[in-house]
């Protein structure tokens, strides 16, 4: 528990009701979207302004108390689990849209605004903010920035990093820094803005962000292609890109995923299909129609059993919404759902799907696969039961092998969910020792006392690499 005098100092800054250290609040901030992790903080604080964040940080810095910044706690890497106790700082109260600049096409927001509330507001002004993680209905822009979140539109529009132009953030010491701005170009020194994107709350606390907006596409078309072999579907993904078509969305769902999504969203999908591709193209009407036609042709050439086009906007929206529910819907199958985020070059997507299935079989675990296939980003998801330690161990072994396979294909251990706690033992596999050492020295420069989200990204010790059997 926090010393009474410190608690009083914190209450003085934010107001009595915005610092809580009762059991209920501590338990409610002991977890995030990551399975099998829980640790209680000593208290939870809800600052209302940048100045309050800075003042709080000065107190915590003085007493060397760790702090975990938190949006909505939907991350999947243990990013907001306070494994060293300390304070969880919830950003929800700082949720204003400070400004939408219609001349420069930028928006300046506080980090606690919900992604969907923000994008809806922007769309109501006739503009477009593309990053759309599946969790957008509840995730915050601050969380999106700190994880560099992707989404269903990453393939054509990029991810969060491509839209952050400027930041205001508070250092561990309580000092306030501003970087970038409403600028298309800025090379004044190192690019701290981009460094902060994806920093997982370990370098500073983001208190304001200036984001790039783009004009919305004029037309959209959404289609489905069904396959009787998941390999065919995965190969189709690479074929589409090889043919120099970049759809806005290109998502893959395997059979178990199709089934659970259908159960939840009642879409009437053919539940015997081995795999499905959900594809959307947007842009000028002519381009959209031509691309959809070409893509349909490619799907058929690659043995699609059925190709259909959404009749209207509502139907398309229903399909995309259903796809967003995929991960949670898989929780219908077994009590524990462990999802990973392996990413490979797009040409290797079919090989990766095969590797995942082979590894799952070898370790006798069920792994369902869906994901942003067009980005080369798959979410192999193990459905298991945390109470069965033997099975969970096998799942871990399987995932280690999947990471190894992804790296061997020229890929990475995480495409969009971040390293956090759960992937920290594997970071060195991707970066090598010198790579991790450079990152650690950056961390030390920002946060010499290791107060900001301690224990994340950097593991105490790297995991031993598995030896891949080839063949």
């Amino acid at each position: 528990m926090l010393d009474n005098a410190i608690a009083r100092q914190l209450r003085d800054i934010v107001g009595a009701s915005w610092f809580k250290d009762d059991d209920q609040t501590r338990v409610a901030h002991s977890y995030d979207g990551t399975p099998m992790l829980q640790a209680l903080p000593d208290g939870v604080i809800y600052p209302g302004s940048t100045e309050e964040v800075a003042a709080v940080m000065r107190v915590l810095h003085e007493h060397r108390i760790p702090v975990v910044s938190r949006g909505s706690g939907t991350n999947l890497c243990g990013g907001t689990v306070p494994i060293q106790g300390g304070i969880v700082m919830v950003m929800h109260r700082m949720n204003a849209i400070v400004e939408v600049d219609l001349q420069n096409l930028t928006a300046t927001v506080q980090p606690g605004i919900l992604t969907k509330a923000f994008t809806e507001h922007i769309e109501s002004l006739g503009l477009f903010y593309p990053p759309d993680p599946s969790s957008m209905a509840i995730s915050t822009i601050g969380g999106n920035i700190a994880e560099c979140s992707g989404g269903l539109r990453g393939l054509k529009y990029g991810t969060t990093k491509d839209y952050v132009l400027g930041l205001e953030f508070v250092l561990a010491s309580g000092e306030i820094v501003r970087t970038g701005g409403k600028l298309v170009k800025d090379v004044a020194g190192y690019d701290l803005t981009k460094l902060l994107v994806g920093s997982e709350g370990t370098l500073a606390i983001v208190t304001e962000a200036t984001l790039k907006l783009v004009p919305p596409p004029k037309h959209k078309k959404t289609m489905l292609a069904m396959f009787s072999d998941v390999y065919d579907a995965a190969r189709t993904v690479s074929k589409i890109i090889e043919n120099r078509i970049i759809p806005a969305t290109l998502e893959l769902l395997d059979n178990p995923t199709i089934k659970v999504v259908n159960d939840y969203a009642k879409l009437g999908l053919p539940t015997d299909a081995a795999a499905m591709l959900l594809i959307e193209q947007d842009g000028e009407l002519e381009t959209v129609e031509r691309d959809i036609e070409l893509i349909s042709g490619i799907c058929r050439e690659e043995n699609a059993t059925e190709v259909s086009i959404a009749r209207n906007h509502e139907e398309a929206l229903k399909l995309l919404t259903a796809r967003r529910s995929a991960f949670t819907a898989l929780a219908r199958l077994r009590p524990t759902t462990i999802l990973e985020d392996a990413t490979v070059p797009r040409s290797k997507i079919a090989d990766m799907v095969l590797a995942i299935n082979r590894i799952a079989e070898k370790h006798r675990v069920q792994i369902c696969t869906f994901g942003h296939a067009g980005d080369g980003n798959l979410h192999p998801t193990a459905t298991t039961d945390a109470r069965d330690t033997d099975e969970v161990h096998r799942v871990e072994e399987a995932f280690a092998e999947i990471f190894e396979a992804a790296i061997a294909f020229g890929g990475t251990i995480t495409g969009e969910h971040g390293v956090g706690l759960v992937k920290s033992p594997y970071l060195e596999w991707k970066l090598g020792e010198p790579g991790v050492a450079v990152m650690q020295s950056i961390k030390a420069a920002f946060d010499p006392h290791n107060l900001l989200n301690p224990g994340k990204i950097f593991a105490k010790s790297a995991r031993r690499r598995v030896v891949l059997e080839r063949g």
Binding site: A28, S135, A326, T328, A386
Partner: protein
């Protein structure tokens, strides 16, 4: 404060009652948070479905004690169940909160004295007894008669409550004191070509306070081609009991209802109150641990329908009168969902279809029509502060439609909307009506 040993005993009961598989099925994705009214109002994780499930699990896992704030948090939940359709993992939140409340109820002796008193009076002394309910309907106001007033005055802790009840009094309808059976008998034949035979679930609050609506429900059914039976042996649905942890009593009531409608030989059981209907369609779950009831309970649950659902999907089209005065005279209405009709009975579409099909009526959706108005059973009496916050917000959205009528499908919602109009309507001519009354009024005179 209760003794630690009592707390440990409560933990043991929670361990037995809470379905641990459901607790772990929540994978903490947070998708349910935006759907939850108490989370949206407070922004606090502990006030969200994900938070409440985590608290339940933490008490069972021994991470926190089932302390007084825990009990309070369990009663902050409206039980509106908006979190369920929002959950892709199909977590049965409604069952979890009932199990938690059931355990708490079993253990609380000095449990907020007045709430307990009110509940006892209302649940055991009043609701299960149609006769007493009828008496109550004969003009004596609910809160005086049930002793609520005295119970309330004894507690100084909640200053809001007396005002809440005084406001409620203003909106209580003129009761006739004559239930639907007294008015129509136990059998009303179909008009014209017969479509089927249905049983009318009259509901205790409906029959005492809104007997007219019950009569009109039967008349609409008959007009749509249904023979209507109103079994006299039926009784209270048990919803309020089940939602407040009085499961044993709820089960008894359920069994009597099942028997009554089985014996009446009907094809469907029709409810005109979302709050009742929702528990009726879950009798199978309520009685899941009583194998000898399994089949009958499953039959009952799967054959219960809301009045709007059966009228829209199965009834003959009702003969509505053409409005006089054309376009300009169009009546603007907005529909406030009954949480339980929408989230549990999945019947949010039919009332809108019916209203949309009415000549001379324009249906305007209000923002967040699907979110709870704060009525939530007796929540507006036990948790007046949150209930009032939600009502104020609701009325802001209702005012935004400039509707002449707010149409509802449940007596609790209807009373709450009346209260809302009384307090917050920008145009006091706005009226709250039950969908049955609204449809009935627009039927062409037969002759």
């Amino acid at each position: 404060m209760a003794k630690t040993t009592d707390r440990e005993a409560l933990r043991e009961t929670l361990k037995i009652k809470l379905d641990y598989d459901q607790l772990t099925n929540c994978m903490r994705c947070g998708f349910c948070l935006p759907a939850c009214p108490t989370f949206r109002e407070t922004g606090l994780e502990a006030e969200s479905p994900r938070g409440r499930i985590a608290l339940m699990k933490a008490t069972v896992d021994g991470i926190m004690g089932p302390d007084v704030p825990f009990e309070e948090q369990m009663s902050h939940c409206l039980g509106c169940r908006a979190c369920e359709p929002a959950c892709p993992a199909d977590v049965k939140y409604g069952q979890l909160i009932e199990q938690a409340r059931d355990a708490i109820e079993e253990h609380t002796t000095q449990h907020r004295g007045w709430v307990k008193g009110v509940r006892k009076l209302v649940f055991q002394g009043l609701f299960p007894h149609p006769k007493r309910m009828e008496l109550l309907g004969k003009g004596l106001k609910l809160y005086q008669r049930s002793g609520l007033q005295t119970a309330v005055r004894k507690t100084n802790a909640l200053k809001l409550l007396p005002k809440q009840l005084a406001d409620m009094e203003k909106i209580l309808p003129e009761a006739t004191g004559k239930g639907v059976v007294k008015t129509l008998g136990t059998h009303v034949p179909a008009k014209g070509q017969k479509v089927g035979t249905v049983g009318m679930f009259r509901g205790c609050l409906m029959d005492a306070m809104f007997a007219e609506t019950n009569r009109k429900t039967v008349e609409l059914l008959s007009e749509a081609g249904f023979d209507v039976a109103i079994p006299e042996a039926q009784n209270c649905c048990g919803a309020l009991h089940a939602h407040s942890g009085e499961t044993a009593q709820a089960k008894e009531l359920a069994k009597r209802n099942i028997r009554a409608f089985r014996e009446a030989g009907v094809d469907a059981i029709i409810s005109n109150a979302g709050g009742c209907g929702a528990i009726l369609v879950e009798y199978d779950h309520l009685l899941h641990d009583e194998p000898q009831w399994r089949e009958d309970a499953a039959w009952f649950a799967s054959h219960t329908k809301d009045i709007s659902t059966i009228l829209w999907n199965e009834g003959r089209p009702l003969p509505f009168a053409e409005p006089v005065g054309g376009e300009a005279a169009a009546v603007r209405v907005t529909y406030q969902d009954s949480c339980h009709l929408k989230n549990v009975m999945k019947g949010g579409a039919s009332p809108r279809s019916l209203l949309g099909a009415l000549p001379g009526v324009e249906l305007v959706e209000m923002k967040d029509a699907g979110s709870c108005c704060g009525s939530a059973g007796i929540y507006n009496i036990t948790q007046p502060e949150m209930a009032n916050r939600l009502l104020e917000k609701k009325m802001k959205d209702a005012n935004g439609t400039a509707a002449h009528y707010i149409v509802t499908s449940n007596p609790g919602c209807l009373l709450q909307m009346k209260l809302g109009i009384e307090r917050h309507a920008s145009d006091k001519r706005m009226e709250a009506v039950h969908i049955v009354d609204f449809l009935h009024e627009r039927m062409a005179a037969r002759g």
